[in-house]
Amino acid sequence: MALLHAAIVSAPIDVSALILRAQDTGVGALSVFLGTVRDLNDGRPVTGIDYEAYEGMAAKELAAVAEEVCAATPGLRVALEHRIGTLGIGDVSVAIVAAHAHRAQACDGARAIIESLKQRVPVWKREHYVDGDRVWIDPTKGQGAADMSVPTQGSE
């Protein structure tokens, strides 16, 4: 079990520093997942996102998600952060680094963590639109969707 770092942060995420935390002499592959704020969601132009967390619980769940994947993947080394506050287009909202001797475990580990994180960690986002409207996103609904053909499980 090698969860090296898990945190909810309000400052910009230093991806290079996270990579260094997960790096080790026995590591042959690192898989890094970055979630970023994009300018379009379900066909509607977005100008920014407010991220809010239940900070104490979110920090615990973030660590629990990573620890569970580490427990299922011997030798996996993980460092991750989720940012909260108001983010602009292109800003990194979440960064997950999974390192292992072998690439399959590193890639599958990072992927498993982001999927579980999105299901469990109490973080919410409110999108800002060009018309000034602001909407809390509910992934269980298809709200504000101009293009419902995009599968929700594929969206960030």
Partner: protein, 80 residues
């Protein structure tokens, strides 16, 4: 007596506050707290199923709240 409940995101908007005193007395089941919340101003905006965290862990509706527990409503999460 009342139980303070933490509210976030759309639920904070619904009730117009980030912390609400709910007029129920501990010990009481989570379900009683939720039912009471539904009858309060803004409670009609809660979805049919509401998740409740007790001491920062999701709790069953049958769980019993104790005095001093940290109670929070958890809207559908949307991190990442």
């Amino acid at each position: 007596m009342s139980i303070p409940v933490l509210l976030f995101a759309s639920y904070a908007d619904a009730f117009g506050t980030r912390e609400l005193e709910v007029p129920v007395e501990a010990p009481c089941p989570v379900q009683t707290l939720v039912d009471t919340l539904r009858g309060m101003p803004g409670g009609d905006r809660l979805p049919p199923r509401v998740l409740v965290a007790v001491n920062q862990r999701l709790a069953d509706t049958a769980a019993v709240l104790q005095p001093g527990d940290e109670v929070a409503l958890i809207p559908p999460v949307a991190g990442g």
